[in-house]
Symmetry: C2
Subunit: 313 residues, 2 copies
């Protein structure tokens, strides 16, 4: 990391102020880490959903990254079931563990009104019993923290990973959020809504400093770190994923393509070449297997080895 | 409307193809209009939520307009309760009538698991009974159609208003969606994800043709048409709202400011000067009155007069 990169991420935090409820959220995060450290529990930070980049200070318009939070919310469930405490740092209103299974259906269609009671209708009983039981079982191991903008996200990412230092190699970072590469610095944003009477609009966006650099070296030097690389062009997937690993020196880059991300990923690490692949078969897909179950199983094994090599005391 | 404007909206539809499920949705819309026309029922088209503008053809990034769909989803409920059939043309995953009251709460926290049955817990029974009853009562008067992009929205808006022609002055259009003013024509979009290694990003956005012009004159010449003007700068609110009414010759422009939109709006029409105002008092706000209940009450009365003056046969 050269000196200029080092300055860029610091400048970003100087120029963009903390999100609301920041101190309360950081306190909650610290409490989870502290308790887990005492009990030697593993903690996974799962980031999920897209970040927004405001185009105006009184924000009416913003640039968004496509992400429903499918990967993150599904993975959070599998980390919980694999015994992890989970900090789920997600875009507000993106998919969440367990409730994701009900999206697109109305609860009012599942409820039956009886004179004395209101109940879940017969044909939804099995599904809702299973989901509610899981939710209620894992709820106390799940801390949900939400963000909207790029700046909110980066503030919370920095604070969370710093608080997770107390966990040493028990910490796993699973960076599945779709983070914007470009933004408009606050000082260059118009104050009011851009008027369309001004004719066509030209926007000039700056590069977001690469936060993986200070994250790996400064904020979370002992954590097991997994990042994602989403591409649309298959020919770039492996090279872009390798490039990212070589640049930041973390542990795994999961490469995926926009159109096949639910059935195929590659796992690029420092030792395996060609990279390990996870691909769902047609029969797995038909029977409802989610690729995140296999990704988490694979990572848990890698994390176990990592922990065995890095634990102290 | 001069000839060049006329061309621009036509060109937009030539350059942007129909959304998926378009023909099925238009069929559903036509059936609702046909039935209502026979029974002489009023129909309100309520548009709600923001439109997206893709920056890439394989869409990873897009520009979005801030809108949770609060105004539209609340208004749809009040139109239903005022006796309208409602076509709710809304951004996918934005707020919806009735379920909007449960946002931010997990249904799994409301469910109680009994050995033989799963029920709604005691302290949520009253609220969920009321909401479920309303939902089940009005469900058959509510057609939900969703969109994501600007182009999806405009295709559906054109088709819906054209199908509503059969209703004559029984049709009310309540255009509360936050529609983008700018877009990138498909021909100017890169095919793949924009690479951040290319350095800072310059975007050049074109003006979206003003669809209210053909809507008022060609698609829905007999409907009662209400549009919204959202501003952040108070000094521009009245003038911008009037300007819009004078330009398009429709019936009401509801002006509102980003920061006070839940307590204050102005209703600009062709005859009243200064414009009518609706403002919630502190006590109304405290007791849970929503400004949309008063807006809809006001518009229903205006629509009744309009219908009395315009009905034929």
């Amino acid at each position: 990391m050269d000196h200029s990169e080092d300055l860029n991420w610091k400048i970003f935090f100087e120029e963009n102020s903390k999100p609301s409820h920041f101190d309360e959220n950081v306190k909650l995060i610290f409490e989870v880490c502290q308790q887990a450290a005492i009990k030697k529990h593993r903690v996974a930070l799962v980031t999920s959903g897209g970040t927004t980049v405001p185009l105006e200070q009184n924000t009416v318009r913003f640039i968004d990254n496509f992400s429903a939070g499918t990967r993150g919310s599904a993975s959070a469930e599998y980390f919980l079931e694999a015994g992890y405490q989970v900090i789920f740092l997600h875009r507000s209103k993106s998919l969440e563990p367990y409730s994701r299974h009900l999206v697109g259906r109305s609860i009012f269609d599942m409820i039956e009104i009886l004179p004395e009671n209101i109940i879940i209708g017969q044909k939804h009983q099995v599904e809702l019993r299973t989901l509610t039981e899981k939710y209620q079982q894992y709820k106390c191991n799940l801390l949900m923290i939400s963000f909207n903008s790029l700046s909110d996200y980066l503030w919370l990412l920095q604070a969370t990973t710093q608080k997770m230092q107390i966990l040493g190699p028990l910490a796993l970072l699973y960076l599945a959020a779709a983070v914007s590469d470009f933004y408009i610095p606050a000082s260059q944003m118009p104050c009011h809504k851009i008027q369309s009477s001004g004719g066509p609009l030209s926007l000039s966006l700056q590069l977001v400093p690469k936060m993986l650099a200070p994250l790996v070296t400064l904020w979370a030097p002992n954590a097991f770190i997994v990042s994602f690389k989403l591409e649309t062009n298959e020919t770039l997937l492996e090279s872009k994923s390798k490039e990212s690993l070589e640049k930041y020196h973390h542990h795994v880059v999961i490469g995926n393509l926009l159109h096949s991300r639910k059935v195929y990923v590659i796992l690029v690490d420092r030792s395996s070449s060609p990279p390990e692949e996870i691909r769902l078969s047609d029969s797995e897909l038909e029977s409802g297997v989610e690729i995140e179950s296999k990704i988490v199983e694979n990572l848990k094994e890698r994390h176990t080895k990592y922990y065995a090599n890095h634990k102290t005391g």
